[in-house]
Symmetry: C2
Subunit: 353 residues, 2 copies
DNA sequence: ATGAAAGCGCTAACAG
DNA sequence: CTGTTAGCGCTTTCAT
């Protein structure tokens, strides 16, 4: 049905070996034959079947990407950058969304195994490294992004979330805030725990007492929950002049809640988020936040993939298992925009408006 | 290196044919052997190499998705939904981002050809159907999304953008606006042309003259351009009470520009966008916009893929070329939020604030 | 009810 | 400099 190397060989009147070598430049072929082959390829509109290579125990030039959701702007961008970098190295991406679902994640990993991907980049959900260890044992490099899995050693690229939140809280303190509320993630995960530690430490380092009352675990996820949380927070600690949310979308919810309560941002209450999603730069007000350096994450992850896949070392796949794993930590960047200012104590007016 | 069907056969003490049949349930295998095989599979942690199937002129169970950018929230969501649906049918997605670049798009299509994808879903950039026609001629179904390519017949899923903009402008008129500015896309593409036609028709149907002066082609793309455009627009037609942007992000720019000029939204000027990106629902104010029904687009696209790939009809791939192509048009939904209201003529106050 | 063996499209070792 | 050929892992006839 489809055009094969055989058809090309026939058309050009040469052997299939010659065709193969012309295509891959794997050995010298005389000028005339080269021309004949190239013409035949063009004439028949031939595209080599890349998958065959994998049969010969070679690489599939396919990398698996397993993450919670590409519809999230941050992950979407991450995906795009990864795809483009790996493309330049001749690799394609097979993507699976897990929706934070452990079962889907396991299915995704199985698929990757059947598609014989050369490596896997994963933003894992499960905290069980069982499956991933299996994969790694088969000689398929696994690169973990953003989260680590206890007891499972793998190359990792992650963000220093402790420092991210530390910095932004410190910034709030520096511009004069001393009563800072914190909206925490509902379910504790390694990165959100780091964030809250950063909040706590920033306060302590500035001699401000850490008060449980000013920390609220959001009732659910994201926007709506941000609204509810900030209202609850402000009701139980009404001297708060700044709110720090664990996530941009939660921060948007917080802003909405604050606005609904009749306060002004940032005049009455400052708000900060976390993640640096693109739309935080175009919102009104523009959100002060910590930017997860997605491009760096993507580049480092790709570096690791390439390194594991293309070093001479790794001719023997077993080397991969043995070689020391890397743990790359990227420092996120504080970006100050319009949702924060020094406290101005306009809040009282708001009450009487 | 990796575990193969042979290893399993050895371990179970059966032939590889038996192993294959147990895995695929393609013929009856006695209970005992079945058990032995299954145990061997488990013991060796064997995963069949899915790619081999393609060698035997069967399907790769891989679908290519070629689109401008997964970092865009709308496309990111589209990607996610497609991936999940196709996964249920046993297909995986290979994704290529084109960044609206014609060269990259061509490379993407070539890659898809080499990976022998079973079908291609594309949000095309190029208006040249050459390459896609080639692909289609090879028997690979092509499903076009959102945009059509003149002179190239393919299954298509698209949005009735004419009606989308028609409806939202009509809504503005209904609530009392009669001087409505329009920010158009810089470079004309089929869908943005449809949008402007919708704007024009809505005015005409309401007996409001269409004035070139109130239409501005944005200077560049998206946010910054929205700011500039709305300022230019308001300067040359200062009786405008509502602004209709061709794209949500442009609308955000417009809102910012309007706010910068000292007007209030929606009291002085109403603003509407187009696309219904998720963050338009959490912004302040929430944006009135037209929602592109991404889920429907994705579902219809997948339906077409499955239909082309799995109907008995298509056992002979040539049938695909011949069979009548479908053109599915989805009606977008107007969603009214906070960025619009009846004109209140507060604008004069704003000037003197 | 099961096994043997022929290929699928291509690469690379071997032959000339 | 070029051709012949043995596989890669698996599915699927064809035998038994």
């Amino acid at each position: 049905m489809a055009v094969t190397i055989k058809d090309v060989a026939n058309e050009a009147g040469v052997s299939i070996a010659t065709v193969s070598h012309v295509i891959n430049k794997t050995r010298y072929v005389g000028e005339e034959l080269t021309d004949r082959v190239n013409n035949a390829i063009k004439k028949l509109d031939y595209y080599p079947n890349q998958l065959v290579g994998s049969l010969r125990n070679k690489k599939t030039h396919t990398v698996g990407l397993v993450l919670p959701s590409t519809s999230n702007e941050t992950f979407g961008l991450f995906t795009e950058i990864i795809q483009k970098i790996l493309f330049k190295f001749g690799y394609n991406l097979i993507i699976c969304n897990t929706s934070h679902d452990i079962v889907l994640e396991e299915e995704a990993f199985n698929t990757m195994l059947m598609k014989k991907v050369d490596a896997i980049i994963a933003v894992p959900v499960s905290s069980n490294g069982q499956k991933l260890r299996e994969i790694q044992d088969k000689g398929v490099p696994v690169i973990l992004v953003d989260r680590v899995i206890e007891g499972f050693e793998a190359d990792t690229v992650r963000v220093d979330n402790f420092k991210g939140t530390y910095d932004i809280v410190k910034y709030l303190i520096n511009i004069g805030h001393s009563s800072i509320g914190y909206i925490d993630r509902k379910v504790a995960q390694s990165h959100s725990i780091d964030q809250r530690m950063g909040y706590k430490k920033a306060l302590e380092d500035s001699g401000i007492p850490y008060e449980e009352m000013k920390v609220i675990a959001s009732s659910g996820y994201d926007y709506e929950s941000g609204i509810d949380s900030v209202k609850a927070l402000l009701n139980r600690a009404n001297n708060i002049t700044a709110v720090c949310a664990y996530y941009d979308i939660t921060a948007f919810g917080a802003m909405r809640g604050i606005l609904d309560m009749g306060y002004h941002i940032p005049d009455d209450i400052s708000v900060v988020g976390y993640d640096g999603m693109p739309f935080t730069a175009v919102s009104y007000p523009r959100l002060t936040t910590v930017i997860t350096p997605v491009d760096k994450l993507a580049h480092e992850a790709c570096n690791l993939v390439i390194k594991r896949l293309e070093t001479k070392y790794n001719q023997d796949r077993n080397k991969i298992k043995v070689e020391k794993k890397e743990d790359i930590i990227i420092v996120p960047e504080l970006i100050i925009r319009e949702s924060t200012s020094s406290p101005r104590n306009h809040k009282l007016y708001a009450f009487h408006e």
